[in-house]
């Protein structure tokens, strides 16, 4: 092959390369946009899961908004206390330590506890089942058991037990609230970790019916409500509820008196020994 052809192409391509790189480096100097270095620093402190729990498209966008003072530094529900403190230092403000939040499953009606009303063959998601006459379980208020919350969790912190109920892994749960959003029955609530007492049921049926629907149902006997201080608990249409503001650190917990033992204290969270994949 003609050696000239090679030389010519080498020189011309090399020349073009030099020309463009010169152009680019000039453009870089002339058109440089100062980016707030704090954005990168803050983004480094964030979990980087882009879960959207803050209501923004992702962690970077959250960092931008913090710098522009459009959202509070504790706006990320997932960040640890340390991370929030770091962000506070970056922003040069005082950090107010938020309490860790966690998702709680407010229903104990698994396959063993609730009566089954029908065979459901439709689409195997909770929303689909709710639209089609409320799935298989007799309880009209409880968990449907198809695990839409599991799919929604960006941190793999929920799994379905063999009994057909979701369970939250305490250490993995960041309290981002995605599961609660996904659940069509509003079974999952995000609570500060210090809330330890729950009425784990959502059933508003009259006592006679509630009893037949599920062995763990709150039957509205009101024993708990009478046992605590005025206003600490209340009845909402056959269902006992806790007023956490008033309840505070109530010394005498009426759990033992609960007719169906549905009123429970979560003290030492049960840690799952094995995960069942669904």
């Amino acid at each position: 092959m003609d050696i000239n052809a090679i030389l010519i192409s080498m020189v011309s391509m090399g020349g073009l390369g030099i020309l463009f790189s010169a152009g680019l480096s000039i453009a870089n100097k002339k058109l440089y946009v100062e980016e707030d270095s704090r954005i990168v620093q803050i983004a480094d402190e964030l979990p980087g899961a882009n879960c959207g729990g803050c209501g923004l498209p992702g962690c970077n966008s959250f960092a931008e908004n913090v710098v522009n003072a459009k959202i509070g530094i504790d706006g990320c529900p997932v960040s640890t206390e340390d991370a929030v403190a770091e962000i506070a230092t970056i922003m040069g403000i005082e950090a107010v330590a938020g309490e860790k939040k966690i998702a709680r499953i407010i229903c104990r009606g698994g396959n063993d506890e609730t009566a089954k009303k029908a065979d459901y063959h439709g689409i195997q998601t909770c929303t689909a089942a709710k639209l089609m006459g409320g799935g298989e379980k007799l309880c009209n208020y409880g968990c449907l058991g198809f695990g839409e919350c599991v799919d929604a969790c960006p941190f793999d912190a929920i799994f379905m037990t063999e009994n057909g109920l979701p369970e939250v892994i305490k250490d993995k749960c960041t309290g981002c609230g995605k599961c609660a959003e996904a659940c069509p029955r509003e079974i999952i609530e995000i609570h500060p970790i210090s809330n330890k007492l729950f009425v784990l049921c959502k059933n508003h049926d009259a006592p006679k019916i509630a009893r037949t629907v599920c062995t763990k149902a709150c039957i509205g006997c009101q024993i708990c409500v009478r046992a605590v201080d005025e206003g600490a608990m209340f009845m909402d249409n056959h269902l006992a509820k806790i007023n956490y503001d008033v309840f505070g650190k109530h010394p005498e917990l009426p759990t033992e008196k609960c007719s169906t033992k549905g009123l429970v204290i979560i003290e030492h969270e049960s840690q799952p020994t094995e995960q069942i994949s669904i």
Binding site: I123, T127, L131, M132, G133, A206
Partner: protein, 440 residues
Amino acid sequence: MKLLSFKKGIHPKEFKYFTCNKQTEVLSIPDEVCIPLQQHIGAPCNPIVEKGDEVKTGQIIGRSESFVSSPVHSTVTGKIKTIDSYLHPAGTKTQMIKIQRTGDDDWQLLDVPKNWQLASTDELKSIVNEAGIVGLGGAAFPTHIKLAPPEEKKIDSFILNGCECEPFLTSDHRAMLEMTDEVLDGMAIIMKVLGVKKGYIGIENNKPDAISQITRKIQKSDYNFTVIPLKVKYPQGAEKMLIEAVLKRKVPTGGLPMDVGVVVNNVGTAIAVANAVIDGKPLVERIVTVSGDGVTEPKNLMTRIGTSFQKLIDECGGLKEETTTVYMGGPMMGISQWDLSVPVVKATSGIVCRTDKSTNGTSYPCIQCGTCVSACPMFLLPTKLARYSEHKLLEEANKTGILNCVECGSCAFVCPSNIPLVQWIRIGKLKVGEMVRSKN
């Protein structure tokens, strides 16, 4: 003559032979009725009676102040037993009033003019409202609202819907044969309220007896309605399809029939209007077709609203051993039931009991055959919509027109892969609706 119809659609087996030649029987009045406070589209009623109150047949027991709502009436003469939440055939628990019957009917009738021809439209409209009349074809939209279109919509035609395109159901068919006078009077009253001159009655061609009977009666009367025989096709009875077939007008996407100057009402609704305006009787009973291979002796039953499904099925000899499914409504759009204690509501056109075992729900991947696309009478792409919904691509689903789906079920019916298309689309509609609302 070439029969009129709409484009696309499907041809499910009709199964009308079970009950189409059976004279409607009157079901004995039950000892206990359970009246849901919500039997219509719109706001639920509030109870205006209390436990222990004595009520008469036809007395209003629940009403709401909202514009889109319809009062509910006691359908027996008796005593209020309880007001609590019970299972509704739509699948959820809702507030209902249970009434124990204490004796024979003691009617509380509406105040009606001697001659409706001379009454004012406002008077007629308020009678329709007070009588609790809603669309009896299944949608249960309050009729008095349909009869009061906004000023700017000029209505020029009225269509009476006698298609009854759902398989099995024959309640409208029997009504047209047995209550022809009421059907025509009711239609005339509705047309007077609307101030329209052109009235059409659309009937599918599989009811030749109804077509000839109605034509004969019209000739003998001074009414000037046109009977339009239509091709047998599903969903011929959907409002938009019916308007396309009869008047060649296309309801715009997202629009209502009144946007093209038309109001459509069902045959049963016309009868209810006639009963209310002429006899002063509120809507307390309707014809329910109990049919299907799963019930011993299929029948058409004139039933008080609030009667339990169980009583109707018992009247028909009970369920067969091999029955697998019971629907409220027809098999295309009906809702399957799991508890037969649910009451008949205003929208219960039929109870269909089937024995087929093909409902194990197994579905296969989409083979892109396009059959669903050729079936969809709304010119949608069901396979795409279902996938968008499955993968939560709500923006795309919205742009592809998911909200226009009328949930007729044609796509799922024809899909060779047995994909639950309508269920996915319904989920998508729910979520897209939420998204659109949150944006506004």
